[in-house]
């Protein structure tokens, strides 16, 4: 059941909602405090692929703004609410959209909004030693004067009241590259429940971005995640360019596309190798990472650094691609393309891979839609969302490529999605190199960003990456809100792990490709 923009807007206007077209996406809907659920219900009824992308909290002085960013099959709308600071309560939407649970918890943590009816309130990203009642993202908080509580020294209890054994995975665990704590409650070898505690990598990026200039913020947001760094940079500079109403030259768009696809290539090869490590297949891990090294060399050739490239800026890119480099890039990509059939054949025929990956961590399509998952996790369960196709940015509108969708919904399907996307990325880069327009790769932009706000979405390797930037005319942004794909995908893991053996938890976990530095920011 699909709908187009007009249907949504007509239905909303019929219920007397005020709509501003073209603001904050396709449209911005002003909703009074008790009517936001109704607006959301209209959107959910009209389109089955409606999902909540993010919930932004913003300090507006005397009130706190709560913006619900909702995506449908072919539009992106924002429902804007405001709650007064002395009584910041709002009704929860988790009964309509279970995937919004984490988003609401974060706004509660960082801005102090109370969502009535939330199923599991509690701390999400702030550290345990953070005092209650202090909300970092409020403008009147003096960070230097916050006194942290003393750390508690209680030991982890090894068994639950219900008699289940609690196995704590993390914060330090060989399966995880990053610290997070997942308490897995098991009965024998079967998992009954997973209790997450994220926030170990919370570095307060959103607050820090408010005290750095826009150009400094490009470097800051890049370091939210080293793996998908170019995507963060792209999303941020595109949002700023939307506020500035600048158009980047076509050559810059193509170069940005090439850098983004190289990012995707190295990230997918990394995950495919990491999955091999989790199922005990070290040889596969070594082979994938061996084939990933040429991609890092290409990134270094084009941008100057292997991992965090800092090659994007407001108005274009900072370095051009030399004509003499193009044959070298193509030669490397041809070599990489030759290796893909070997890996595909491994996934099709190797019995130990199939035994460990098929029918493990199955996510049904309805659950995928309700939990608002994004990226290969969604595409592995039959939900065909991809920002490069739904709302093309940079040069993706002009480059033909295939959107990869598998329907099985298990770990094997998700890994296959990534494998096929590797091939598609190689196609995209080659097409972009062949059709690279000439001209400038950068334009001058005004020093001062005028007041305004913009939303922007980018397809990172792990899924839809969302940015909201608000500027108030000064040198520093008013608010930068980041919603990363793993933040949206963790609830899917909490659901798919239940009922499976504990030995299946690592492969299941890696198949959703978690990046916790993205999640916690």
């Amino acid at each position: 059941m699909t709908s187009n923009n007009l249907d949504i807007l007509k239905a909303l206007e019929a219920k007397n909602f005020q709509i501003q077209i073209g603001k904050l996406g396709t449209a911005a809907i002003q909703a009074p405090v008790d009517k936001h659920r109704d607006a959301l219900k209209i959107l959910l009824d009209l389109d089955e692929k409606t999902a909540v992308t993010a919930i932004t909290g913003i300090d507006l002085g005397a009130s706190v703004g709560v913006y619900y960013h909702v995506r449908t099959s072919n539009s992106f709308v924002t429902i804007q609410c405001e709650v007064p600071k002395d009584k910041p309560t709002l009704a929860t939407i988790t009964d309509l959209v279970p995937g919004a649970a984490f988003h609401e918890l974060e706004v509660a943590d960082l801005l102090g909004v109370v969502f009535e009816g939330h199923p599991s309130p509690g701390r999400l990203v702030l550290p345990d030693t953070w005092p209650e009642g202090v909300y970092p993202l409020r403008k009147d908080v003096k960070i230097n004067e916050v006194k942290l509580n003393a750390p508690s020294s209680e030991d982890v209890k090894l068994s639950d009241e219900s008699g289940l054994v609690k196995i704590v995975i993390g914060p330090h665990h060989p399966a995880l590259l990053e610290p997070e704590k997942f308490a897995v409650l098991v009965d024998g070898e079967t998992v009954k429940k997973v209790e997450p505690r994220i926030g170990y990598v919370h570095r307060g990026v959103e607050k820090a971005s408010e005290s750095k200039t826009y150009l400094q913020d490009v470097y800051l947001v890049e370091r939210i995640c080293g793996i998908c760094n170019s995507c963060h940079a792209t999303a941020f500079v595109e949002a700023v360019e939307k506020i500035l109403k600048t158009d980047v030259p076509p050559r810059a768009k193509y170069i940005r596309t090439i850098i983004l696809e190289l990012n995707r290539l190295h990230s997918h090869l990394l995950t495919l190798g990491h999955a091999g490590l989790e199922i005990g297949y070290e040889t596969l891990f070594q082979y994938f990472w061996r084939d990933r090294e040429p991609v890092m060399d290409l990134t270094e050739m084009i941008t100057g650094n292997r991992v965090i490239s800092s090659s994007l800026t407001v108005g274009g890119v900072r370095r051009d691609i030399k004509e003499t480099d193009i044959p070298k890039i193509k030669a490397t990509l041809t070599e990489l393309r030759k290796k893909i059939p070997f890996y595909k054949q491994m996934y099709e025929n190797e019995p130990s891979i199939k035994m460990r990956m098929q029918k493990v961590g199955v996510l049904a399509r309805e659950d995928a839609l309700k939990l608002c998952v994004v990226g290969p996790v969604a595409r592995g369960s039959g939900v065909d969302i991809d920002v490069r196709k739904d709302e093309p940015y940079e040069a993706y509108g002009e480059i033909p490529f295939k959107e990869v969708v598998y329907t099985a919904g298990d770990t094997w399907a998700r890994m296959n999605v990534r494998m096929d996307e590797v091939e598609e990325s190689i196609n995209i880069i080659e097409y972009a190199l062949d059709h690279l327009p000439s001209g400038a790769y950068r334009v001058k932009v005004p020093r001062v960003v005028p007041p305004g706000e913009a939303v922007n979405r980018v397809e990172a390797p792990r899924g839809e990456l969302f940015y909201y930037v608000k500027s108030n005319g000064t040198a520093f942004p008013e608010r930068v809100k980041v919603r990363t794909p793993t933040f949206a995908n963790i609830p899917a893991f909490l659901k798919t792990a239940i009922g499976e053996s504990i030995a299946d938890v690592p492969p299941n976990f890696v198949s959703l490709d978690p990046c916790f530095s993205c999640t916690d920011r």
Binding site: I167, G280, T283
Partner: protein, 329 residues
């Protein structure tokens, strides 16, 4: 007097304790090199020529580290389990005829094959105890998996080991070796292949190495160990692998049999024994590198559904053949 000195030399130096130590280190190096080369890497290269002293460096380094005993652990078992596991395995190796005669002279008795197999189980049980006494959730799960796996696979292992016993007409290891004019691998190839696979499960190597699955149980039953105890625990595992390979050699490949030339026949016997053990370890390491790890329920199911019926069939087949083939051998 000379006899006693000779006994001490045989037990402690060659082909006894010291020789077994160096053989174990050599096999550990071979395993690491094969794993590295299969993964397109170099493996240890700079510790001694081509990295051959790497296991020795690892062992010495571990011996010189601080030993930490957790407060919550059962201290006596925690302290002694690794050393006992190591000793039991070396003791079991002394029953095998490494150079034509068993290491401790005249120690073989009728039925010592069963005794040696029982010693494997004792050693595995001591490894389980090492994990159980650590009082660490990861160690407990790793130890439980060790127990599940070796108890399950002991049965087919024993049945498959009886195949050469039937072919040789005796349960004494020395007799089995002596009667192998034609190696039993040729006479009962089905038993050989199944025995190697079951030994892979018994030794907890890929695809059966779930007790050592890093990504789930950190380091399994070894998690809380450090220093000298860890050195002996890791060494016990390496000796276990050499023991498994030696058992395969003795039962199916003819032990130390082989052509002898000039000089002492014992040295040639040892050389053939070592070559055969290395060959088995190479085959086993190839299997390790080429497969992913199976889950514990898949391993247990594989045991009861495939290994056990197949080993019964192999036994029956071998008995049948022994009746006709025995006059030849």
């Amino acid at each position: 007097m000379i006899d006693y000195l000779w006994l001490i030399f045989r037990v402690l130096v060659f082909p006894g304790f010291t020789f077994i130590l160096f053989l174990t280190m050599f096999c550990d190096w071979i395993e690491r090199k094969i794993e590295a080369r299969m993964q397109n890497r170099m493996g240890p290269s700079f510790t001694g020529p081509s990295g051959i002293l790497q296991p020795l460096a690892d062992f010495i380094k571990l011996l010189t580290k601080e030993e930490i005993t957790p407060n919550e652990s059962r201290k006596t078992i925690f302290r002694f389990a690794p050393f006992f596991a190591f000793s039991v395995l070396i003791f079991a190796l002394c029953f095998l005829p490494i150079d034509g005669a068993s290491v401790i002279p005249n120690v073989s008795f009728g039925g010592d094959l069963i005794f040696v197999m029982a010693l494997i189980s004792v050693a595995n049980f001591l490894l389980f105890l090492s994990g159980w006494s650590s009082s660490n959730p990861y160690s407990s799960i790793g130890a439980a998996r060790v127990l599940t796996q070796f108890l399950g696979y002991d049965i087919p292992l024993l049945m498959l080991a009886l195949a050469p016993a039937f072919l040789a007409g005796s349960l004494t290891i020395a007799t089995i070796v002596a009667r192998q004019w034609i190696p039993f691998m040729v006479l009962a190839p089905w038993a050989f292949v199944l025995f190697i696979i079951t030994m892979q499960a018994e030794l907890e190597k890929d695809p059966f190495d779930i007790p050592h699955a890093e990504s789930e149980v950190v380091a399994g039953h070894e998690t809380e160990y450090s220093g000298g105890k860890l050195a002996f625990l890791k060494f016990a595992r390496d000796v276990q692998i050499v023991f498994g390979a030696s058992l395969v050699t003795v039962l199916f490949l003819g032990g130390a049999n082989g052509p002898t030339f000039f000089g002492l026949p014992e040295l040639w016997g040892t050389l053939w024994f070592v070559l055969k053990v290395v060959a088995v370890i190479v085959i086993s390491e190839y299997m390790t590198v080429l497969f992913a790890r199976l889950r514990i329920d898949q391993i247990v199911r594989a045991n009861w559904k495939f290994m056990l019926p197949l080993s019964v069939l192999s036994l029956l087949l071998t008995i049948g053949l022994a009746v006709w083939v025995y006059p030849m051998v």
